[in-house]
Assembly symmetry: C2
Homo-oligomer: 327 residues x 2
C-alpha cells in the first residue's frame, strides 16, 4: 500500500464479518473474513472487527482515512448508534463510538444496503451519475438511492426501503406490517414460499426441484428454483417469470418516482438469475413513463459481492475526508 488515501471497509453480517483495506480507486488491498460470533454479543463482535482492522492497518504501514461499517439495521445518522439490528438482536449499541475509541480512528456506520449502494455509486455501475437507484434482491429486498448527487437518507435515516413498496394491493403478507410488498413477491424467501406451495400443489411438476432439494420439498430455496429453471424445468421457469413480473412492477414504480439515470440490480437472487436484468430492462422500458425512462439504463451490479465492503470504505473516504456527510 502506498501513501495514497485508503480506508477500511467492514461488512458486518449475521453470519460473517468481512474487513478489507480499499484504495481510493475502489480496489481491494487486503481482505479478511471471520465468522460473526453473534451469541457473544456486541463486545465479541467488536473485538473481531478490531483485530481484523488492526492487522490490515499493520500490513498497510499507513493510517487509513477512516473505517466504514455497513450492517443490516437502523442506524442513527449522526452518532452511528445501532438503534436496532434484527439479525444480531442488537438494540442501541454505540458501535461507531466503540470502534472509534478502541481503534483510535474515525469510524462511520451505515446500513449495509446503503453501503453497497455507495460502492456501486463510487466505483461500480453507477459511477459518474448523480441519479441512481440500486436494488438488491437477496433473501430480502433493499436499496439505496442517489438523487441530485446525494445519497437519500430521509427523516429517520431509513430512506431506500424499496423492498417494502406495495406492488400488489391484494398480495400476500410480508414480514413487515404491509402486504403485497415487492419483497413479498420477489425476495428469496418469497420465491422459496411460492416454489414450495407450487410443488405441494403439483408434486409431479415439481419433481426436478424436489430432487435438487434432496427429496424434501420444504427445503426448496430460491437457489434451487434458479438451478431448476436453468435446467429447463417448466414450473421453476414459471416461478422465475413471476419474479420478473414483480420486479418489473416494482422497478416501474422506482423509475417513475425517482427518475434515475441508472437502475442497478444486485444481490443473491439477481446473481443467481442474471437473466432477470434483461427481463427488467425490457419491462421497465415498456411500461415506465416515456420521459422517465428516456435516459434510463438498467444494469447489473458491477461490484457483486464486494459492493458492501468496498462501499463501506467509499463512504468512509467520502464522509471522513470532508467530501460530504450524506449516508
Amino acid at each position: 500500500m502506498t501513501g495514497n488515501t485508503w480506508a477500511i471497509g467492514v461488512d458486518l453480517g449475521a453470519t460473517k464479518i468481512e474487513v478489507a483495506g480499499v484504495d481510493s480507486a475502489g480496489g481491494i488491498l487486503k481482505r479478511m473474513h471471520r465468522d460473526t460470533d453473534a451469541a457473544g454479543g456486541p463486545d465479541t463482535v467488536e473485538s473481531g472487527i478490531i483485530a481484523a482492522a488492526e492487522e490490515i492497518m499493520k500490513s498497510a504501514g499507513s493510517r487509513p482515512a477512516g473505517i466504514g461499517v455497513g450492517m443490516a439495521g437502523q442506524i442513527d445518522p449522526v452518532t452511528g448508534m445501532v438503534i436496532f439490528a434484527p439479525n444480531l438482536d442488537w438494540h442501541n449499541v454505540p458501535l461507531q463510538e466503540d470502534l472509534s475509541g478502541k481503534l483510535d480512528q474515525p469510524v462511520v456506520v451505515t446500513n449495509d444496503v446503503r453501503a453497497a449502494a455507495w460502492g456501486e455509486w463510487m466505483y461500480g455501475a453507477g459511477r459518474g451519475y448523480n441519479d441512481i437507484v440500486c436494488i438488491f434482491v437477496g433473501t430480502g429486498v433493499g436499496g439505496g438511492i442517489v438523487s441530485g448527487g446525494a445519497m437519500l437518507a430521509g427523516c429517520s435515516n431509513t430512506a431506500g426501503e424499496i423492498g417494502h413498496i406495495t406492488i400488489d394491493i391484494n398480495g400476500p403478507a410480508c414480514h413487515c406490517p404491509n402486504h403485497g410488498c415487492l419483497e413479498s413477491l420477489a425476495g428469496g424467501w418469497a420465491i422459496a414460499r411460492d416454489a414450495q406451495n407450487a410443488v405441494a400443489r403439483d408434486p409431479a411438476a415439481g419433481a426436478a426441484m424436489i430432487r435438487l432439494a434432496g427429496g424434501d420439498a420444504k427445503s426448496i430455496t430460491a437457489k434451487i428454483v434458479s438451478a431448476a429453471a436453468h435446467q429447463g424445468d417448466t414450473l421453476a421457469s414459471r416461478i422465475v417469470d413471476g419474479v420478473a413480473d414483480a420486479l418489473v412492477a416494482g422497478c416501474v414504480s422506482l423509475v417513475n418516482a425517482f427518475n434515475p439515470c441508472v437502475l442497478i440490480l444486485g444481490g443473491g437472487v439477481i446473481e443467481g438469475m442474471p437473466e432477470l436484468v434483461g427481463m427488467v430492462d425490457t419491462g421497465v422500458h415498456g411500461r415506465a413513463l416515456g420521459a422517465a425512462g428516456m435516459k434510463l439504463k438498467v444494469v447489473m451490479s458491477e461490484l457483486h459481492n464486494n459492493a458492501g465492503v468496498i462501499g463501506a470504505a467509499a463512504l468512509a473516504i467520502h464522509v471522513l475526508s470532508g467530501k460530504g456527510d450524506k449516508r
Copy 2:
C-alpha cells in the same frame, strides 16, 4: 407592496391562467385570472401571461425577484423549455426564454405539481422540514419530493411521478403505459370510472349518484361520488373506501421509499374528501415500516388551491435569488 423581496407566480393550466404577486412570506399581494386560449397557441398564451405580469408589476411599483411558472408537462431543467405539455399540445416551446425576453425579467419554468410542492415546502404544511412528500390527487395524481433539503428532479427532470407507481400488479390499464398505477385506482378519472361501472352493474344501488349526475350515469364524476358519500350513500362510500385503500397502499410505498417527515395530501379529490387524510394517516402508520413511520406526520395541504401560484413564486425567489438551483 414594499421594497421587500417579492416574485410573480404563474399557474398555467389547460383552461385557466393564474398570475399573482407573492411576497417572501408566501402572502398573495395581487392576483389575476384569465382563461387559457389554448387554441391560440404559445404566442397567445404567452401574451396573456405577459399582460397580467405587467399589470402586477405596475401596481407593485417595484421589480420582482423574478417570475416562476408552473405548468403540466416535461420541462428542461436548465433552459425551461417546455419539451412536451400534453394538455396544451405544446412541443419544444421555449417558454422561459420567451417570457424572460419579453418581460425583461428572470423567469424559471417548472412542472405544475412540483411548483405546488415548492409552495407547501416553503410556506405550507412542509415548512421547516428537509424531507417531505407531497401527493396531489386530482383528475391525475402527481407529486413533489424533498429529500435532504433538496427538491428531487431526477435524470430527465421527471422525478416525483408518484401517480405512476404500481400498487396493483393485476390492476386496470392506466393512461400511461403501465397498469395498476396509483392514479389508475385513486385519480379522479379512475374514481369516475369505478363509480360508473358500479352503477351500471347495480343501478338501484347507484340511484343517488345517478340523481346527482342529472340522470346520466355516464356523467358521474369523482365530485359526485364525494357528494353522495357525504350524504350517506352506501355505494359511494364503498368507492371512497376503495380510494382510501389505494392511497394507503401507495403512501406506504412512498413512506418506505422516501422516509419523509411529513406526507402532505392535496388536490381536488382530497379537498372534496378531506376524510381521506385521516384514513391515510391511520393506514400508513399501521402498515409502513416502524422506523420509516416513526417521525411521520400525515397532513392536508395548507395552501390548497393556491399552492401552485405561491409555489411558482417561491421557486423564483429561491432559484433566482441564488439560494439554490433545485427545482
